[in-house]
Every structure is written in C-alpha cells, then in structure tokens.
C-alpha cells in the first residue's frame, strides 16, 4: 500500500524516525505521516493565507491528552513557514505565562523569541536573520538612493512608532545597524538581547542601548504586536504565534493569576476579531478541560465564554470550522492503520519494494497492541507509534529477524497523562515563601 506520493528526503526520514522513537513530535517532514484531519488543516491554511494577506486569526486547538495537538500545531507551523510567515512557538509552563508579575511573562516572550523560525531556519534561532534581512534591504535602498542608512531605517519604521513601545523598538533596530556598521559586537548582542526580552534592568538597557524601556511582564503582547508588524516590514508574510500546553494556565491555583492570564487571551481575541491587528495569527493548544471547565477553564471567564461557545447548530457530527475553537477529532483505528503504513513508507523512503513488513503485519501489530492496552492504542497513539518504530528499527538492522517472532516481545504501556496527577501541586506563589 503506497499512501503518499511526495518524495521523502533522507534528512526528513532521519528526523521523523528519531523523533517518533523518542516519543516526541517531529519538527520537520510532518506532511509524510500526517493522517486525516483534512478539514482542520484546510481551515488553518485559510487562516494562514488570511494572515499573509494582512489579516489576523486566532484558533484554540482543543484535543484530549495524546490526541495529537502538538503534532497538529507543528504541522500548521511548518505550513506557515512554507508560506513565508515567521513563526514563534513556546510551551506554557508554571514559569512561562501570558501574564505575570514575577518575570514569567517575560520568560515566555524570551522563549518565543529564541524559537523564532523562518522558512530557511525552521529550527528557530532566526531572530538575527529577520533583523538583518530588514536592515539589508534598507541598506540596499540607501545605496541605490545615496542616502544614509539610518534615515532609511527610520522612515521605514515610522509606522511602528504609532504602536506602544514602537519608538524604542525602532531605536534598537537602528542600534543593530550601527553595531554592524562599526563592528561593535557588544552592541549587536545587546540589541538582540533587548529584542529577545532578556533585559531585566532598565538601567542596563539605557546604558547599553540608550533606550528607556525594556520588554517586561507588562508589555509582552504589545511587543508581539510590534514584532508582527516588523516582520512584514522585513518582507515576510506575517507572524504566527504558537502557544502549546495552555493547560498550565488552567492549573494555576490562584484565581486572580488565572484570570489575568485569561484576560490577556481575551485581549488578543478581541484584537483579532475586531481587526485591530494585522499580519498576526495565534494558535493556542489546550485540553478540553482547559476550555470547558466552568470553574477554572476559559469558560470560567464569562467574556471569553460568550465568544468561544460552540456553534449551537454544529451538533450531531456537523462541524463548524469558522469559529475560533477547533476541536481535534479523536484518531480512529483506521487512522492509526494509515499512520503506521505511512511510517513504514517513510522507513522505505517511499519505495514500496523496500517495505520491512507486509500489510497484514500492520493489522497483527494493532491486534497485539489492542490486547495489551485496549482502545488506548489508537486513542493516545504515542506509545503505539514508539513501539512500532522500534520494531521497524530492529527489523531494519537485523535482516534475518522475522517480524512475527518479535511481535510477542513488543511491550507497550498505556500513555498516562502527567497533568492528571499533578493538578494543583505546583503553586509556586506559595513556594516562594519558603524560608
């Protein structure tokens, strides 16, 4: 069975196999193993096109633990990169939130900026590339027109200055140019540090860069808005912000802290729906309880509840893909079968004559998993996939081994949601009072 006709690069093959073997989602080549979810992908591609066309979008990707949220987010992220968007992504955690007063929001921003990726640098660390691409084009323009580079930069960034924090942002970009022009590595690094949100002291920022403000807990979202405009000025389609593990907001024990975070989400949602931001897309990945729990989830925040409520006509199998909430359907046995077939295909680099196991082995493998862990084998397929990849690896390295001899030795455990047993044990606000 050949499932896909796209040629597979050896590099992608390695990346996919290594990631799956370690039980994590591949960062490249997802298209080779993507199964189903056609409508969901189509909806998100429309979103990306809207962002690239100076629009904005926000989606809550909601799915059960292990149902493939992260995989889906990475897939959309790589599509966005292909469409010449800049992407930034981060997992929320107790130390990384949208709103905070103890540096956790700044820390989220810093993580986002470290993971900044472009089509050419899909693995992140592309902040300098984006800044330099902007400055390079200003430089080319200055050369052609015979004027000073700083003047060109200032003119081009004039539109940023109408946004909060825009003046200092422009100043820092100018500083980056000056640093390059004069070979001042210190200044260059300072400018990047400022852009990455790594300054914690305003005095330091003033001393090193001559600016009065820094990226802090209070202005993270403003800074993201600035950045989404900046990437467009640098010649990219827009900015896609991918935030995963939003369940960490749900797990915040302190009501006020939780609500402040939800308020930030509301702010973003309002900006997007009212069209007051351009070229910015936001993807938020979370579990159903994060959305639906009326005591601690997004639904506990009434302003969000009304905006996020499911389309009341979309029941009984009908789905509405235009709302901000995108529920990810559970994988089925059939989906898993195709997924395993795709993995086999990746192993063989798309050459069906090199398949390591025949079709009926896929079924036998699924049967084996089913007897061990029941339905969980396709509902939360992480461990199933890991076991399958391990099996293929052994078969590949030991030409004389037979798959049916090995199948019995495949051990598999049901995937356990770590969120469930860690519900409220990490109230760091209390922990800081330890003497």
């Amino acid at each position: 069975m050949t499932t896909t006709a796209i040629p597979i690069k050896p590099k992608h093959r390695e990346s996919i196999i290594q990631s799956l073997r370690a039980g994590v989602v591949p960062r490249a080549g997802q298209q080779h193993i993507q199964v189903g979810r056609h409508d969901e992908v189509k909806a998100l591609v429309t979103d990306i096109d809207r962002v690239a066309d100076s629009g904005a979008s926000i989606r809550f990707i909601i799915g059960e633990y292990g149902s493939g949220k992260t995989f889906f987010l990475n897939l959309i992220r790589s599509i966005a990169l292909e469409r010449n968007l800049v992407t930034i992504n981060a997992d929320l955690s107790p130390d990384r939130r949208l709103h905070a007063t103890g540096g956790q929001a700044r820390s989220l921003y810093a993580e986002l900026m470290r993971n900044l990726a472009t089509r050419s640098k899909p693995d992140g660390g592309a902040l300098a590339s984006v800044v330099e691409k902007f400055v390079s084009s200003a430089l080319a323009e200055a050369r052609a027109a015979g004027v000073g580079v700083e003047a060109v930069i200032r003119t081009r960034l004039a539109s940023l200055q109408e946004l909060v924090g825009g003046y200092d942002f422009a100043h820092v970009i100018e500083a980056y140019w000056r640093a390059h022009d004069s070979g001042n590595e210190d200044l260059k690094e300072s400018a990047l540090r400022w852009l990455r949100g790594e300054y914690t002291s305003k005095i330091d920022a003033r001393t090193h860069l001559g600016v009065r403000t820094i990226v802090g807990d209070a202005n993270v979202y403003d800074q993201l808005k600035l950045f989404s405009r900046f990437v467009r000025l640098a010649g990219y389609g827009g900015l896609l912000i991918v935030l995963d593990e939003l369940v960490n907001l749900y797990k915040l024990a302190n009501t006020q802290a939780r609500n402040s975070n939800y308020e930030q989400i509301l702010r973003i949602l309002n900006d997007v729906l009212q069209g007051s931001v351009e070229g910015m897309g936001v993807l938020l990945g979370g579990t159903p309880e994060f959305l639906l729990d009326t005591r601690r989830g997004l639904y506990s925040y009434s302003a969000l509840q009304s905006r996020l409520a499911q389309n009341q006509f979309a029941t009984g199998g009908l789905v509405d893909y235009s709302g901000p909430v995108l529920p990810l359907s559970q994988l089925t046995k059939e989906d898993l079968y195709v997924l395993l077939a795709n993995i086999r295909n990746v192993y063989a680099l798309g050459d069906s004559s090199r398949y390591l196991i025949p079709d009926h082995a896929l079924e036998a493998f699924m049967q084996h998993c089913s007897t061990r862990i029941g339905d969980a084998y396709f509902r939360t397929p992480r461990n199933t996939v890991t076991a399958f990849v391990s099996l293929l690896s052994v078969l590949e390295q030991n030409a004389e081994a037979k798959w049916h001899e090995l199948l019995g030795a495949v051990t598999i455990q049901a995937d356990r949601n770590p969120d469930l047993d860690a519900a409220a044990d990490d109230d760091d606000d209390l922990a800081t009072f330890r003497l």
């Binding site: 590099k11 370690a22 010449n84 955690s93 107790p94 130390d95 470290r114 472009t118 089509r119 050419s120 592309a126 590339s129 984006v130 330099e132 691409k133 400055v135 390079s136 084009s137 200055a142 050369r143 015979g146 004027v147 000073g148 580079v149 200055q161 909060v164 003046y167 200092d168 500083a175 004069s182 070979g183 001042n184 590595e185 210190d186 200044l187 260059k188 690094e189 990047l192 540090r193 790594e198 005095i203 003033r206 001393t207 090193h208 860069l209 001559g210 600016v211 009065r212 403000t213 010649g235 076991a387 391990s390 099996l391 690896s393 052994v394 030991n398 001899e405 090995l406 030795a409 495949v410």
Partner: protein, 703 residues
C-alpha cells in the same frame, strides 16, 4: 537504541540461543574464571586475566575452549567474519587466533575489531552477574572489573557507540552495587541516552536530603540533557566558568529539587545474549531527572551563557590563536574579566591605575593606549581599533572620552584622551538626550574658544543645566563631565563648524536656539550670567539677539507654545507616564517634559551637523564580476555565485565572504534563500554551521 529495541534484540538472541542449545548433546562443565593476575596458556598465547577458560558452548560465549582449533598463521584481525553476537566457540579458527593475539598483547590494541572486545566483555558481564549473586564476598574483584571496563571504554568509546552504551551501563550497574566504584573517573555525559545513573542517584539523594544541587553536578546534568552548541564547546573553559558564576548568582547555593512520586529503578540490559536482564530494585531514591521546571531553569541558564559567549566564540573561530589578545578580552562577558589570562588587559589596567587623579580621571596620550592594539595603518587609527580600546577599558571598569561608540571622533595617535573610572550605568551607547547634551556642551566650548569670556563657573553652570534639563542619569552626567574635560584639554577647532551652522535653514537654527533657551530656563528663571552665555551662543548659530529675547520671554511666560505641544503629542507614548514630582526644587517638570520631547526632534538635526566623519554608505569593496541574478542586487548575486562554488561552508568562511562583500551574513543568506524559493521553489542552503548548498538548486538559479 531505545530500551524496547534492546529487549527485542535480546529476545532475538534468546531465540537463536535456544535453537543452538537444543542441538547440544553433552552436558558442559562450567568454564573456569581466571581472576586478576592469573593467566592460562592456550595454543601458545597467554590469555591474561578476567576470562573464562573451558568448554562454554551453550553457556558462555566468551569462554575460551582450549580444545578448539586456532589458525595462528592467518589471524583475522579485521574481524570481518565475526557475527553480531559472536561467541568464541562459533567463530572461525582464524578469528580465534586474532582474539587470543589481542588478549596476549594485554588487550591494549586500540584498533582491535570491536567484535573481539565484545567477546571479552561478555565474560566480564557474566562474572559481574556471578558476583552479584554471591553478594558481599568479592567487592574488590568487582571494583577491579569496573576499572577494566573503564579502561576499555576510554580506548574504544569513540569507535563504537554500541560498545560505549553497554560499557557505560555495566559501570552504572557496578556503581549501584558497589558505591566505591563511583570514584572511577568517567566521561562527561552527552545528551541523547538519558541522564546517567550516577547523576540521577546523586540528584535524587540531594532532593531527599533537601540539599541544594552543586554547580558541577548541575552542569553534568545539563550536559546529559542539552546539546552544547558551538560557543559552549569552542570556549569550553569559559563556558564552564561562566555557568558556575551565573548558577551561583541565580540559585545561591544551588537549585533545590522536590522529590516526586516516582523512584529510580534500574534495568541492566546485558550485551551478552546468554544473560538475562537484571532489574535492580530502587533504593528509595526518587527520580528527579524528569522534573520539567529545574530542567528548564538549567537549559535557560545555559542558553544565556552561550549567547553571552557568542561574540567571543565567533572571534576565536576566526582567530584561533588570539585567545589571550586584547581583542578577545574585550568580547568576554563581564563575569569572566577578573580571571582573564590576557596579559595586555592587565598591563592596560596597570597603566590607567598609575595615572588616575583624585577624581578618578586620567589624562593620557592616545599613543600610550594604542600600543595595546595592533594598528593596520600606523598613520591613521581605524574606528574598530578605537572601539576595541573603549570596549576593553569598559571591561576593566573604565570609560574613555572620546568614545567612538557614542559618536566621538577616532583619536589621532598624538592626541589626548580622558580615561575615567566608570559608574555601572555609564552609557556605552548614546541616548538621544545624551547626544544632544554633548552637542550643547560643544557649542558652549566653542563660545569659549571664540572669545575667552565664558568663565569656568559659567561652564559648570551650563553643564549642570544641561544635565538637569535633559534628565541625564548619573552615569551619563559622569561621562558628560569627562567629555567636557576632554573638550577643554584638546580644544577641538571650530573650523568648518560655523560654516556648517550657517548653511542651516533659518528654521533649523531657530530650533537649536529654542532648545538652548529651554535648557537655560528649565528652572524657570534666567540670571544675567546665563543670558550672557546665550547671547554668545545665538551669535555663534547666526541668530539675532532679538530672537533670543523673544524666545526667552516665550519660554518663561507660556507653556502652550504650539511647537512644543505638537512635538509632545507626537511622541507622548514614550513618556506616557509623566515623571514623578520634581527631583530638584524649582524644576518645572512639565517644562522638563517639553524639553525632552523637543530634544528628540533637534538631536537628529544636530547630530547630522556635528558628525565628524559622516560615513557615506559603503559600497561593496569587491566589484561583482557579472550582472545581477533575477531580483537580487549586484552584491547578493555575487554572494550567490560564490556560495554556489562549494557544497559546504563553515560559518566562519561564509562570514568572511559576506564581510568582503559588505553584507550582513544572516540577512544576506535569508534574502538569497527567499529568492531561491521564489525562483526554484526550494532553498539554496540548509543548516547553519556548516552551511549546505544544494547544487541542483544552485545550477537552476545560475542558469
């Protein structure tokens, strides 16, 4: 290999093993173990210690059966015919000869076929199993085996990842049984194989005891979960030091770990197919290595350290022999300055200290400082040499005036400079306010140069006024003071300055005039001494006295000056929060705010007048050979042509090419790939260091 694969591998082995054992007919006698120092003679070879001798078929694959033939004439040293699970009794006679030869030579050959090492290793594994079963009686022997494993590991780890993993794992097992083995030095861990057991145990025990994790252990833990990037490997010593310093700064005595609910357990996967897994029961040590928060804290810290070392690392990449130079020193993170090995840096510090006066300032000849930097053309000092000095002095705790980084001129080799002990917030980049302040100061000294009637006191007055009006920070005032000292010392000529001022439009001159007035009137009054200075300044700018009186009057009487309000409105965001109540009695803060708003408008204007060497935009120093490619400009096209010549480029090489073409490396690469996507639908390059060029794309683009 994942655990699962190892289990699978082992089960394959067992399948094969049982097949063979079924075919066995005679009951074997257990082979004899040769303990440390013992040896046996087999076909003329000395086996040495730590091997089993006897008929091991079906029991122990490593056992040397002296009855089996050995082909001593054609020893198979390449090990080609050794299967994946070798056994002494089943390998060909010529392989047996090669194996015995290796044993005879004391197991020292670093190039021996790895299959033979495995055969020997199987024996060690079995002996460890036996010793564990006979618990307690033989701790010394198990320790001796551990040393032997560590020795083999050091010899062969780089050649076989598989052997490395099994040997590391056996050492882990021994350490678990015999804690004394923990003193055997082991390789620093590397990521990908999980956290080494000894680290996991140490961390778990600290968590139980509520003790902090010491920096060295934290670093080992980090190394097992995080891939060290170029700065951390190229400058390993600096990275380690910086990590220790920042770790202590951030976590004090160290990170505290909370023991979780999962406990360590350890399953030993033997390499030998004849042995089963051992699962060692946990010792009530919690497994803290999976906790996400401390891991994130460590990797964040490591990332910070590496980005702080980035510039230093790239410099070393280009100048591998210049680690001790002043240039390298200037790029070090502040924390590493004290422990520097740079002799130049220490000499420079000594020179400055010897010349400091009571105010913490030193007047020096530029030539005295320039001996510390290598000068390309002795007659002219380039900008980057002046910058290097400024940066190096800053690391040592000093500022210098003039400073190119703040728009100062590069000094002549016979010129004078002022070096001063700097406050922590002494700027290394000019804010708009500071830039304006220096220019006003310059105007002030020009007045004094024109006629000598502005007294020292008046100049001090001006200095104070400027600083207050522009809300300069303490560090900025300090630098301004040094700047004034330098101006007084060197008295830079006014040549050309008057002419340039005269060339300004009347409007622009009025702008400058009003700024000067607003600075003088910040405290809402103008005394005659100030008026006297202002009259001279107005004269210098080429404005009438009548303008001055009107401007002073306007500044004193009205806050609703249209110009100022416009400026304030357009830039209110930056100062959305009004400054807190006046720091100095008599200061009108609303005026101060106006001043600042106005400053920004004027500073750009002034900057362009006073820039000493308004650098024209540099064109590419290398002329492109042919025309442009597609939508790329000439220099980017040239870069594309050059990159296309090779398939792989190190980052340093790329930087050299882009520097030659006066391009920004990352920006230019990004632009080229954008073009490649547009024209060929594929990237031209991938990866970072080294950069991989796709030849087929290059061909298509250059067609």
């Amino acid at each position: 290999m994942t655990d699962l694969e190892r289990i699978l591998q082992a089960s394959i082995a067992r399948l094969r093993w049982t097949d063979k054992s079924r075919r066995r007919t005679e009951t074997p006698s257990l082979p004899r173990w040769l303990a440390q120092g013992e040896s046996a003679n087999v076909h003329g070879y000395a086996t040495g210690d730590f091997v089993y001798v006897g008929n091991g078929a079906g029991i122990e694959p490593s056992a040397i059966d002296p009855r089996l033939p050995v082909d001593a004439v054609h020893p198979n040293t390449s090990g080609e015919q050794v299967p994946y699970w070798p056994a002494y009794h089943s390998i060909p006679a010529e392989c047996r000869a090669a194996y015995l030869q290796w044993l005879h030579g004391g197991r020292k050959d670093p190039y021996v076929a790895i299959g033979y090492v495995f055969v020997f290793f199987y024996g060690l594994e079995r002996r460890v199993y036996e010793l564990i079963a006979r618990r307690g009686s033989s701790a010394d022997e198990i320790l001796a085996i551990a040393h032997e494993v560590a020795r083999l590991l050091a010899l062969h780890a780089n050649r076989s990842g598989s052997f490395e993993r099994y040997a590391e794992s056996l050492l882990d097992l021994i350490e678990w049984i015999e804690p004394r083995a923990q003193s055997i030095p082991r390789e620093t861990p590397h990521p990908g194989y999980g956290v080494p057991l000894r680290i996991a145990i140490a961390l778990g025990e600290l968590a139980v005891a509520a003790q902090p994790v010491p920096a060295a252990l934290a670093l080992d833990w980090l190394r097992s979960i995080w891939y060290l990037n170029t700065p951390a490997t190229r400058c390993a010593r600096e990275f380690e030091l910086l990590f220790h310093i920042r770790y202590a700064k951030r976590f004090g005595q160290g990170l505290f770990l909370q023991p979780g609910r999962t406990f360590l357990d350890f399953t030993y996967q033997p390499a030998s197919a004849a042995l089963d897994l051992i699962n060692v029961a946990h010792r009530n040590v919690p497994d803290v290595t999976q906790l996400a928060r401390p891991r994130t804290k460590l990797t964040d810290l490591a990332q910070e350290c590496t980005s702080a070392l980035d510039a230093f690392s790239r410099f070393l990449g280009k100048n591998p022999d210049a680690r001790e130079s002043l240039a390298a020193f200037a790029l070090l993170p502040d924390e590493l300055v004290e422990g520097t090995h740079s002799a130049d840096a220490r000499l420079l510090a000594a020179l400055v200290v010897s010349r400091l006066d009571a105010h913490g300032r030193a007047q020096l000849g530029a030539g005295e400082l320039l001996q510390f930097v290598r000068i390309a053309k002795p007659e002219k000092i380039a900008k980057n040499e002046a910058m290097l000095l400024a940066q190096a002095l800053e690391k040592l705790g000093y500022g210098i005036e003039p400073d190119v980084r703040l728009g100062g001129p590069t000094f002549e080799s016979d010129g004078r400079v002022v070096v001063f002990r700097r406050l922590p917030d002494c700027p290394s980049t000019a804010s708009d306010e500071y830039a304006t302040a220096t220019i006003c100061m310059r105007l002030g000294t020009m007045v004094s140069a024109a006629d000598d009637e502005v007294s020292e006191q008046e100049r001090a007055l001006l200095e104070r006024h400027i600083a207050e009006a522009l809300l300069l920070s303490a560090g900025e005032r300090q630098r301004l003071g040094a700047h004034l000292a330098w101006l007084l010392e060197t008295n830079p000529g006014t040549t050309g300055m008057k002419k340039r001022l005269a060339a300004l439009s009347q409007d622009a001159r009025h702008h400058i005039g009003r700024l000067l007035v607003s600075i003088a009137t910040t405290d809402a009054r103008v005394d005659p001494r100030e008026m006297k200075i202002l009259e001279k300044l107005y004269d210098l700018i080429g404005l009438d006295d009548s303008d001055l009186y009107r401007d002073v009057h306007a500044a004193q009487s009205a806050d609703d000056e249209p110009l100022a309000i416009d400026i304030l409105a357009s830039s209110s965001r930056r100062f959305a929060i009004p400054p807190k109540p006046a720091p100095t009695p008599g200061l009108d803060m609303s005026r101060v705010r106006l001043r600042i708003a106005e400053t920004r408008e004027v500073s750009a204007l002034l900057g362009s007048i006073f820039a000493e060497d308004e650098a024209p935009v540099r064109g590419a120093s290398v002329a492109p050979q042919a025309g442009t490619i597609g939508s790329l400009d000439a220099t980017h096209s040239e870069l594309l042509r050059r990159l296309a010549r090779r398939e792989s480029w190190s980052r340093d090489e790329v930087e050299r090419v882009t520097a030659e073409l006066s391009l920004m490396t990352d920006g230019a690469l990004e632009a080229i790939n954008d073009y490649a996507y547009a024209a060929a639908d594929e990237p031209l390059w991938e990866d970072d260091d080294p950069l991989t060029i796709h030849a087929h794309v290059a061909r298509e683009l250059l067609r």
